[in-house]
Amino acid sequence: MDNLVKRAKELLENKTVQVVIGYEAGPTGVIRPAFITDPEKAGKLIYNDKCDQNLAVYLTKKEVKNFGKMAIVATLPVMRSIMMLISEQQLFAESIVVLGISADGNLLDIADINIMQGYIEKSDLSNPEKYKALLAELNKLNPEEKFAYWQKELSKCIKCYACRQACPMCYCTRCTVEVNQPQWIPVQANTHGNMEWHILRAMHLAGRCISCGECGRACPVGIPCHLLTMQLTDQVYTYFKVYAGTSDKMNSVLSTFEPNDKESFII
């Protein structure tokens, strides 16, 4: 990715941006986020198919924002996250430079939001293929089996909230779980409390989830919690024909409505 390094270096040198958020390889070889502020260190930046963390989570982070204008290495999910963040007024288009990465790993020329929008619109926005199969499997189960499956998975949860912290859309400074008047979500990490937490999380991401799968990837105990939000992403599309993160002026599904929204269960 010589182009990426070159572009990052340029941006830092001509002071267009003060920090470039990208990926580097750690000493153990694990790919991790990198924050480059010195053009001489731009060479650390890499991009390969293992770079799957959604970096957009850092765009709302105070200490990163403090640098000034940010450039960010952005695969499709990152670009969609950026759209969501702008539409939800957590980010200004002028405060970032998008170093878009195409599906085949090449640097895209994303000069502005409209170009990014065009790119996103051309892309496949449904859930990633590898999760579609898992979702289909789960959807085949009967209700008792589903309930048993999720109880078993969620009993593992330790409420470390890595799923929340890794998610670019979970940018609230105070989460519902931290409200204790009333105590919406039990503090303790038991199966029931965990289930309520994960239902809450999925509902709060309904129509906002951009299917990056970061929550599931971040989970230290391996709960496939991303399947919950991805299921709703499918359903949002089925019912309302929209995918999240396609435009910076996008209306959130649960904060808007159409009078003729169809359902079949209200009597």
């Binding site: 153990t28 330790i158 912290q165």
Partner: protein
């Protein structure tokens, strides 16, 4: 007590295990369906793994569970009544096959829970716990026990420590009276020591913890903290998988007239951990929280508890979603 070493044959290990599970809760590691290593109560012997490097979660929950009820209460019109927890319900547990780092952590935890007043719940659980440890014959790049004064075959915290021999049998170091009791209950399974070689993995020392500790005292304002914690997303995973992290939160939960008070795990990585009611937060940003974590383990604890707050298990690093590698950072810290 004087420690003794015996031999236990490969076949006898299973017998010992089955004997233990017949009259106690044995908490042993298994490979779960999703390939995660987790501890379960009384799994079948065939399920128990002897070849794991580290379980996803530490085993601290046997003495410091995710949630510990402290008491129950009932509110009536004029007064409230409190019902204490029936401590006798705390089961006797044998921790099976835990590695030396995890077992050493029980001492660290004791130094926190019992530094002045003995924490009842912790002490009771520890009292009812017997540990049959297993020295490490495997390790990976995250392991750094040798950098924190331990080793793959440290005996600290174990009642019995098993070490794998080349021929598949085990040496059993009987370290405490509790261990001795267990051996006595199945004396026929233990034989005299052979001269077969133990298989112990090698863990390279990455840093000197003394040097880290001495550097930290002057490093509070160092730019290191911001530079190295930018990528930290502020979840509690490192604290929750850590065998020595002991912070907890106390909550009441009332439903109608009945309620309970309990404590549950908390993490200094959370933004709200130190948030005051006033809105002021002394650790407002993630770098300050990350610094707290390292400082606590490598500076404050050695100072106050005379014990290092880290056993080098590497879980926080392997479990971190953004590769906050603690050994790497400590290595860098000792050179600042």
């Amino acid at each position: 007590m004087e420690t003794t070493r015996k031999l236990i044959r490969k076949q006898s290990v299973e017998k010992l295990y089955n004997a233990l599970t017949s009259n106690r809760q044995v908490y042993a590691p298994v490979v779960a369906a999703d390939k995660q290593i987790e501890y379960r109560y009384n799994p079948g012997f065939a399920e128990v793994t002897f070849g794991h490097i580290r379980s996803t979660l530490s085993v601290k929950n046997v003495v410091f569970p995710k949630v510990e009820n402290l008491f129950f209460y009932t509110n009536a019109r004029s007064e409230s009544t409190i019902t204490d927890i029936d401590m006798s319900r705390i089961p006797e547990v044998v921790l099976w096959g835990a590695h030396p780092c995890d077992n050493a952590a029980f001492d660290t935890l004791r130094s926190i829970f019992c530094w002045d007043i003995k924490d009842e719940f912790f002490s009771k659980r520890l009292e009812k716990l017997a540990v049959i440890g297993l020295s490490c014959h495997l390790s990976d790049e995250y392991c750094f026990c040798t950098s924190v004064g331990l080793s793959p075959d440290s005996k600290k915290g174990s009642d019995i420590l098993l070490s794998l021999l080349k021929n598949g049998d085990y040496h059993a170091d009987i370290l405490t009276e509790k261990g001795n009791e267990i051996v006595k209950s199945a004396a026929d399974l233990f034989e005299t020591v052979s001269d077969e070689k133990e298989v112990i993995t090698e863990v390279k020392q990455k840093f000197s913890h003394e040097q880290v500790t001495s550097k930290l005292s002057a490093a509070f304002e160092h730019p290191f903290w911001v530079e190295n914690s930018l990528r930290c997303i502020g979840c509690g995973a490192c604290a929750y998988v850590c065998p020595t992290c002991a912070c907890f939160d106390i909550q009441d939960e009332t439903r109608g007239k009945n309620g309970k008070r309990y404590r549950s795990w908390d993490s200094c990585g959370f933004g709200l951990f130190t948030l005051h009611t006033s809105g002021h937060n002394p650790r407002e940003v993630q770098s300050q929280r990350w610094r707290q974590r390292i400082m606590h383990k490598f500076s404050y604890m050695p100072e106050r508890n005379e014990s290092l707050g880290c056993v080098g298990c590497g879980r926080c690093s392997s479990g971190c979603p953004v590769d906050m590698n603690i050994a790497e950072q400590l290595e860098a810290l000792q050179n600042i």
